[in-house]
Symmetry: C2
């Protein structure tokens, strides 16, 4: 379906736009661009998390979006959220049972458009920042504060590390 | 399907990000933001036009993306492209048979999130710029140079005017 590629095309162009040479050297450059992408992702994640919880019959009712167990929220990201975004499930979910989770996607769609050689590895962070923010935003909607980072060892596979912040 | 709303959420947040107060008064402000949105739309439209032409069995083969008649290209935008983006068809297509076309959407999805009172009318252009660029980019892929503008008389209805540029 084209509406799935529409998101991917828009994401690609948004990254390209933010990485275009900035005529103003004082504007913060790449660091600021990553933070803009994360912020966009966070707000989209909040909205998407709310929409998915409200439309999925197996989810909790509107007034209690929060999941009781954090592992249920992580499973929701790996299944429902990933299916809505990429029409598939995350390939793996591991945890140390102390609030840290590693979500593995063996073929992350937003990295597939890049080349797969090791020379592209340093380009990967800009294609991951939006999704890190999105996971964090969805978790926020579900009642969990988190830090989300991503790492790539071999393109187009990647891992998202989620650390739940205890209040 | 959530992947349709994913595009709409991302579009909304992208507009909000570009409209956020800019600390640099010399950066061009709203005019520059509209032009950034149009440029993003143009590139997404090019990619989407190519994808749709190549995957639709009723379309021309890969090596001849261009439509012979401009009205066929406009019909393609109103049906195939609109269905891929918004899961519906455009509500109307009129032409003066001299290269000017008016495409009418009685309930444009990217305007629905706004309020519908007349006080919101002046906010509308920022929600239309991306799609103007997108239509222009798709037409470019199909072999036509064009100027695309949009107007709103009563939210959430809008009209896109396409003027084909003769070479």
């Amino acid at each position: 379906m084209a509406d799935a590629v529409l998101f991917e095309f828009l994401h690609t162009e948004m990254v390209a736009e933010l990485w275009a040479p900035d005529p103003d050297p004082g504007s913060g450059g790449k660091k600021k661009s990553l933070s803009v992408l994360e912020g966009l992702g966070f707000r989209v994640g909040q909205a998407l998390g709310e929409r998915l919880c409200c439309t999925s019959s197996s989810r909790l009712p509107r007034e209690t979006l929060a999941f009781r167990e954090e592992v249920d929220a992580l499973r929701f990201l790996c299944k429902d959220l990933w299916a809505a975004m990429f029409q598939k499930h995350m390939d793996g979910l591991r945890t140390n049972h102390q609030g840290t989770y590693v979500l593995q996607d063996n073929s992350f769609p937003l990295l597939i458009a890049m080349g797969s050689g090791p020379q592209y590895l340093e380009e990967a962070p800009k294609f991951l920042a939006f999704t890190c923010g999105l996971l964090c935003g969805a978790l926020h909607t579900l009642g969990f504060q988190s830090l989300v980072t991503a790492s790539v060892a071999s393109l187009p596979a990647c891992k998202f590390q989620v650390v739940i912040q205890k209040s």
